[in-house]
């Protein structure tokens, strides 16, 4: 991604009413042109260049790791590795008790069952901070959740439950974007009624006798929700990707996939047998170069043209919090005549003024996206996935998709949950609950992100994405952050190496419409405290706190560096 120091200052606003336009905005705040050019040199930002394609500012920032922090992170991992070797040595020579699974003495002449070195990180790093993951909960994970308290007396090799339940932990880890993870309310009542009528499951595939009228109703509703001709629903979100991409592309086709695509997309791409090329995350120059090369050079040895070129992108990338540059992707797709597969697992329901996802967020035409895929797991509080598109495409998938032929169809109460929640979001149930939830989520997102940035944390991703990764960097801080937050009654998700690049471990907050402002303020206060305690406020460009004004008014602030 190249920074453009002077370029953005030269553009004049394109809107008649004098509102701030894309060209003048850098990182969400307007600067005077001289200060912008000087201050831009030391920072790396992603600034949109095409004022015409984007109807609203696209503010995404991935601040670079400070060098001192990077060095200390490596030192941390180095020390942990050395101690890991020491402990492995002690365990091997029986000086220390070995807790993990090893082969019995009788088996040692056989080919080894376990590759000991591959578990090095699990044994020596993950085990030390294992209490931050897989915490058992015992209530519905809405805005607050009850967590079972557990203790470990042998450094996390085994856990004992004390019997206490930590009640009312603020839940910042669930993908509960619109707050439908409830066990009371209209969705639950409707699902209970359907459960009595239809039973729990169908135990059959869609093509045999598993096709219920409920499924047809759901698919019509999904199609009208998305604005496409037809849709098809599947029992599992992961399986929607991994089973349908092989049905769409095969050998002789080209898949251009984003660097940070989810495992389901990667698996589906590999299973299809097509050639896979990866472009840099959200980088349109990289994508255009790959498209040009593909069309000019064709297939690798035979130079024949590719049968199909499919671009795989996601709406919101859940580990980075970034939103795909959809207008540019669609422009490229039209120019080079490729197909677009958009995975809206996290963005459906969470983005856009009416909650219809990233297409709605950018104000584009859903007919431009060839395959719109999404899941019901996140915003709808159910399970399963869907694919939407033209009628020919969906008819083809009904016969050729692996899920349709071999996988059981969605369970009826789950279908009813999706139907009720979708009608609520669309406003068809007669209340304005859906619209309120969407607005609440957008406000929560902006407020939370702004406050965290003001406090001085490094936050990745787009200003409007409800997924907020907060950078921790050092391995010890991963464990410390998780535990300190739980002590203060807040549950967070932390991720470290090797799931993220080695110097980019993070804590990920998922905001929800169920979070009220009080809950967010409590959480922010605690995060502030923990941030001071653990010295997590790495950001080098502190933002001056802006007055609480709604987004549409023109506000001009300077940023202090």
């Amino acid at each position: 991604m190249r920074p453009e120091p002077g370029g953005c200052c030269c553009r004049r606003p394109l809107r008649a009413n004098g509102c701030v336009a894309n060209g003048e905005v850098r990182n969400g705040y307007v600067r005077s042109s001289a200060a912008a050019a000087a201050a831009a040199a030391g920072q790396i930002h992603h600034v949109t260049q095409n004022g015409g394609l984007y109807k609203r500012p696209f503010n995404e920032a991935f601040e670079e790791t400070p060098m001192l922090v990077a060095v200390l992170t490596y030192v941390g991992y180095g020390v942990l590795t050395l101690f890991g070797y020491l402990r492995d040595f002690l365990r091997h020579w029986r000086i220390e008790k070995c807790h993990h699974a090893t082969e019995r003495k009788e088996q040692q002449d056989f080919v080894s069952l376990y590759q000991d070195f591959e578990n090095f990180y699990t044994r020596n790093l993950y085990m030390r901070i294992r209490d931050n993951w897989n915490r058992p909960i015992c209530s519905v994970p809405g805005a607050r959740v009850d967590i079972m308290e557990r203790q470990s007396h042998d450094y996390n090799w085994s856990f004992k439950y004390t019997g206490n339940i930590i009640k009312g932990v603020i839940n910042m880890g669930s993908y509960n974007y619109l707050g439908f993870a409830r066990n009371t309310g209209s969705c639950q009542e409707a699902a209970a009624k359907v459960l009595e009528e239809y039973g729990v499951g169908v135990c059959s595939t869609r093509q045999e006798i598993g096709n219920l009228d409920k499924h047809e109703e759901l698919e019509k509703l999904v199609a009208s929700f998305l604005g496409v001709e037809a849709a098809m629903a599947y029992g599992m979100g992961f399986a929607t990707n991994s089973m349908n991409i092989p049905a769409l592309v095969g050998k002789g086709c080209l898949i251009l996939s984003d660097e940070l695509n989810h495992a389901s997309l990667v698996l589906g791409a590999r299973l299809s047998g097509a050639t896979i090329r990866i472009f840099k995350h959200n980088n349109m120059q990289s994508l255009e170069k790959l498209l040009k090369d593909a069309i000019v050079y064709g297939q690798p040895r035979t130079r024949r043209p590719w049968k199909k070129i499919l671009i795989l992108v996601e709406g919101i990338y859940s580990m980075e919090g970034s939103i795909v540059r959809l207008p540019e992707v669609i422009a490229l797709k039209k120019k080079y005549k490729a197909y677009l597969y958009l995975d809206e697992a996290h963005s459906i329901g969470a983005l856009g003024p009416t909650g219809r996802g990233v297409v709605d967020y950018f104000g584009l035409d859903p007919q431009d996206v060839d395959v719109m895929m999404g899941t019901f797991t996140k915003s709808f509080g159910a399970s399963g996935g869907y694919i939407g598109g033209k009628k020919e495409l969906i008819d083809y998938l009904r016969t050729h998709s692996h899920s349709a032929v071999y996988a059981t169809s969605l369970s009826p109460p789950v279908v009813e949950q999706i139907v009720t929640s979708m009608k609520c979001i669309m406003g068809q149930d007669g209340t304005t609950l859906g619209k309120e939830c969407i607005q609440q989520l957008a406000e929560n997102t902006r407020y939370f992100r702004r406050r965290l940035k003001e406090m001085g944390f490094i936050i990745y991703g787009n200003e409007d994405s409800p997924v907020v990764p907060l950078m921790l960097y050092m391995p010890a801080k991963i464990g410390a952050f998780g535990r300190e937050m739980l002590k203060r009654n807040i549950g967070v998700v932390v991720v470290g190496f090797p799931a993220t690049p080695i110097i980019e471990s993070r804590a990920r907050f998922c905001l929800s419409a169920a979070h009220t402002k009080e809950i967010l303020d409590t959480a922010l206060k605690e995060i502030d405290e923990v941030g001071d305690l653990l010295q997590l406020k790495y950001s080098r460009h502190r933002l001056v706190p802006l007055l609480d004004r709604p987004f549409d008014e023109t506000t001009y602030e300077e940023t202090e560096d």
């Binding site: 790791t65 060098m67 990077a70 060095v71 070195f117 940070l260 990866i278 980075e320 991720v495 799931a499």
Partner: protein
């Protein structure tokens, strides 16, 4: 499968040496080792330099050329299980910038050690031998080669 993983990098070991600040950390680590050795009162300056050189080369040999595989499970079904870290760097592409850096740094250390030991014969033999143990495995012709069955 790399479920719950923030990148589609199949083997993070290939990229770790290119990360931001890794070279600086490595240089600082060598400097720290040298200062610790210089602080021990029994070692004269030539001995400290030779020891720095030898310990550094020993460490480099163990971590880059002796240990095989990855310390975490990779989703590629263990393609890199029999490869040392050096062979895994950048998926086997030779002459990348990380490889050049890690080839040149023991040579620089060797020059400094030769200078500070005043080209004394014993020190020379020690330093040269340890430099060779660390330079020979880095040659592209020896990619994947296991001489005498060492480290198979």
């Amino acid at each position: 499968m790399n479920v719950g993983v923030a990148h589609s990098e199949v083997n993070p070991n290939t990229r770790v040496m290119n990360s931001r600040g890794m070279w600086l950390t490595y240089a600082l680590g060598v400097g720290l080792l040298h200062i610790v050795l210089l602080s021990i009162p029994f070692f004269s300056v030539p001995v400290a330099w030779t020891l720095t050189n030898v310990i550094h080369n020993l460490g480099m040999y163990v971590f880059l050329h002796a240990v095989k595989g990855t310390p975490f499970e990779t989703p590629d079904q263990g393609k890199a299980r029999l490869l040392t870290h050096w062979e895994q760097l950048d998926y086997g592409v030779q002459f990348t910038s990380s490889r050049k850096f890690f080839t040149i740094s023991p040579i620089i250390l060797y020059f400094l050690a030769s200078f500070y030991t005043k080209y004394d014969p014993t020190h020379f033999i020690l330093n040269t031998a340890s430099l060779l143990t660390v330079l020979i495995p880095k040659m592209p012709q020896l990619h994947g080669v296991r001489i005498f069955g060492i480290n198979k």
